[in-house]
């Protein structure tokens, strides 16, 4: 087990270096001069320009800039924003909790609705309910999430208000942040994954229900409910839990579309805006943070998977 974890952890290093290198190359080839963009309409005096170049060490050869950046990373220094006069780490310290809140709320929706729908449609296989679940999962995967968000805003935000019904707030996090502002963004972000959870849950449960030990449990006179709860669910849940873990990682990397629709101040939108402004320290720092979070979550998922199911340790070697 220890060996397995070490090997997986070591695999992260080249991927991480690759990501930072690729990102660094991207920032150097993307056209647009950050100095000029920062100055905006006003022409920048040569002295101010020189000061900017000096401050951010933009004169140094590219490979030197890259190694300086990596060195900073190792000591936890993400640099300073070109535009905001703030430390990049400070910016994300402010924004990351918002992204995490939204991600956790979305995972909550996904777990409750996805698993319930999957179990129901597996138990009531071929029933109308099952057909409905299967069809709605196909629709959910095909739905542009930003459109779903807009539809909900118009319906539950605007129309409900017009009709005098209790309505949901359509943007922001609330001041101070509250749960009611979280409802629509969380459902929007969770929509696609909920469909996948339901599908995986259903097919896994059906597969497990066909196995011999389940037949034994039924033969020994257990009720259907007890068979599912006590015997089938445990095994069927393993791939579902894995999917949810990986999905948490994906959601922790920010949700640009959901954040844009609901004016949610998260990391996804911040990086998106920073690319437009050519604020490279913010872009680099944000993506580096995201990649670290995602890789650590993926590693934890892999480890827990290997703990739950010892066969994996050996099978995964090829990948």
């Amino acid at each position: 087990m220890g060996k397995y974890i070490l090997r997986r952890a070591f695999q992260m290093i080249p991927v991480f270096l690759g990501v930072t290198l690729l990102l660094f190359i991207l920032t150097t080839v993307i056209p647009g001069d950050p100095v000029a963009i920062r100055a905006g309409e006003r022409a920048l005096s040569p002295a101010a320009r020189a000061a900017f170049v000096e401050k951010y060490n933009l004169d140094a050869p590219l490979h030197e800039q890259y190694f300086t950046y990596l060195g900073g990373l190792l000591s936890g220094d993400l640099g300073e924003s070109y535009r905001q006069n703030r430390e990049v780490s400070q910016i994300y310290l402010d924004l990351y909790p918002n992204t995490a809140r939204l991600a956790l709320a979305a995972i909550f929706v996904e777990v409750i609705i996805g698993i319930a729908a999957g179990i129901i449609s597996a138990i009531k296989r071929y029933s109308l309910l099952d057909v409905l679940v299967t069809l709605s999962t196909s629709i959910l995967v095909s739905l542009p999430v930003f459109w779903l968000g807009m539809l909900m805003q118009v319906f539950f935000g605007i129309k409900f208000k017009e009709w005098g019904l209790p309505y949901l707030p359509i943007s922001g996090m609330g001041d101070p942040p509250d749960l009611i502002h979280l409802v629509m963004p969380a459902i929007t972000l969770a929509s696609v994954s909920t469909a996948y959870v339901a599908r995986i849950m259903r097919s896994q449960l059906l597969e497990v229900m066909g196995q011999d030990y389940i037949r034994t449990a039924i033969a020994k006179g257990l009720t259907d409910g007890a068979v599912v709860r006590r015997h089938a669910l445990k095994n069927a849940l393993i791939p579902v839990v894995t999917f949810i873990g990986l999905d948490l990682g994906a959601m922790m990397s920010g949700a640009i579309l959901t954040e844009t629709i609901f004016n949610w101040p998260g990391v996804g939108y911040a990086i998106f805006a920073a690319i437009g402004q050519r604020d490279w320290p913010v872009v680099m720092g944000g993506v580096v943070l995201i990649v670290i979070v995602v890789m650590v979550i993926n590693l934890l998922v892999d480890i827990s998977y290997a703990l739950l199911d010892p066969r994996i340790r050996y099978e995964r070697r090829a990948v």
Binding site: P14, D130, I200, S203, I256, F272
Partner: protein, 325 residues
């Protein structure tokens, strides 16, 4: 594309749309002829199963309709509905924001342009991005996946780590950065979406080639002196094709969603070119007063992507492909 490219473990036997029927005499014959080793039977068998899947056939029919609409738009859309992009500023005042009517079935937008006509022409961009981006992803993914699986060892590790690097990036942010490199415009958008989809395809290709690599006919071909390239192209790829077809179909839907998302963020197709995602982006500020500006383009994206998803599901069942990580 991200969401669609996620692996889905639904297995063929479990689809409620396809209650398992007892095999007919015809099917028994099919199975028998499959055993005798004719390569045609796998495909005719799959076609037969696909035809029986009602949802997949609905998807296929809808795709056919959209292709016909996209190809024939010039013949009828401008005459019947009006131009999708040219507007007259003198009549704009009276034509703008008209609700759906017989004359403008989906209403008009803030420039007085017919929404239905823009959706009809928008189908061209959506289909183009689906096909072009998927072709790009397939070409890169096929080459990388085949090389990785065939040679194994160092090349395998190199290709797979490169795929990991691509997959570690948050998808939309990567696409945004690539478009920033290439410049805006729909051709660059197609390229960015296609390039970013290669790792998933490469993984699928790699695992399906690995599954046929150890077969005796590969050894036989090698013993007969076939070159590496010939073995890859003639013996391995055709037998590893089923999962690639399924993923390819799914990724067309995924590419259409990606185009919509990026155009929604203002990075893809720009006015006056009609794109469903960009129409939604423009509708966002006016959706409360003029909901038709938002409803119809969104419905166009949903139904088109759904058609490819249903067809992909049907193909997966018909070809009996098990999706795995």
């Amino acid at each position: 594309m991200g969401a669609l490219m996620r692996d889905d473990k639904t297995t063929s036997a479990n689809d409620p749309m396809q209650p398992t029927a007892p095999p007919t005499a015809g099917e028994a014959a099919q199975v028998a002829s499959k055993r005798s080793g004719k390569s045609r039977t796998l495909w005719s068998d799959a076609t037969r199963r696909l035809r029986r899947n009602r949802l997949a056939m609905i998807g296929l029919a809808w795709i056919f309709i959209i292709v016909v609409i996209a190809l024939s738009a010039d013949l009828w859309a401008p005459q019947w509905l009006g131009s999708p992009s040219e507007f007259d500023s003198t009549t704009m005042g009276e034509l703008k924001h008209l609700p759906p009517s017989a004359e403008h079935p989906f209403g008009t937008d803030k420039r007085g342009l017919d929404v239905a006509s823009r959706i009809v022409y928008g189908s061209r961009y959506s289909l183009a991005v689906g096909i072009i981006a998927t072709s790009i992803a397939l070409s890169i993914g096929l080459v990388m996946g085949t090389l990785a699986a065939y040679y194994g060892g160092f090349i395998d590790s190199l290709v797979m780590r490169l795929a990991d690097v691509f997959l570690a990036f948050p998808y939309i942010l990567f696409a945004i950065a690539l478009i920033a490199v290439l410049g805006r415009g729909f051709v660059n958008l197609f390229i960015a979406i296609g390039v970013l989809a290669w790792p998933t395809i490469a993984r699928v290709v790699r695992s399906s080639i690995l599954s046929v690599k150890e077969n005796e006919y590969v050894d036989a071909a090698r013993a007969l002196g076939a070159s590496d390239i010939r073995i890859m192209l003639r013996h391995m790829l055709p037998n590893a094709m089923a999962p690639i077809i399924v993923y390819g179909t799914m990724s067309i839907g995924g590419a259409i969603l990606s185009e919509a998302a990026l155009s929604f963020l203002g990075l893809g197709v720009q006015f006056p070119d009609p794109s469903w995602g960009h129409m939604l982006s423009e509708a966002r500020g006016e959706m409360i007063s003029y909901p038709w500006l938002m409803i119809f383009p969104g419905a166009a994206i949903l139904t088109t992507v759904l058609a490819f998803v249903l067809l992909g599901d049907g193909l997966r069942d018909a070809l009996d492909v098990k999706m795995k990580d």
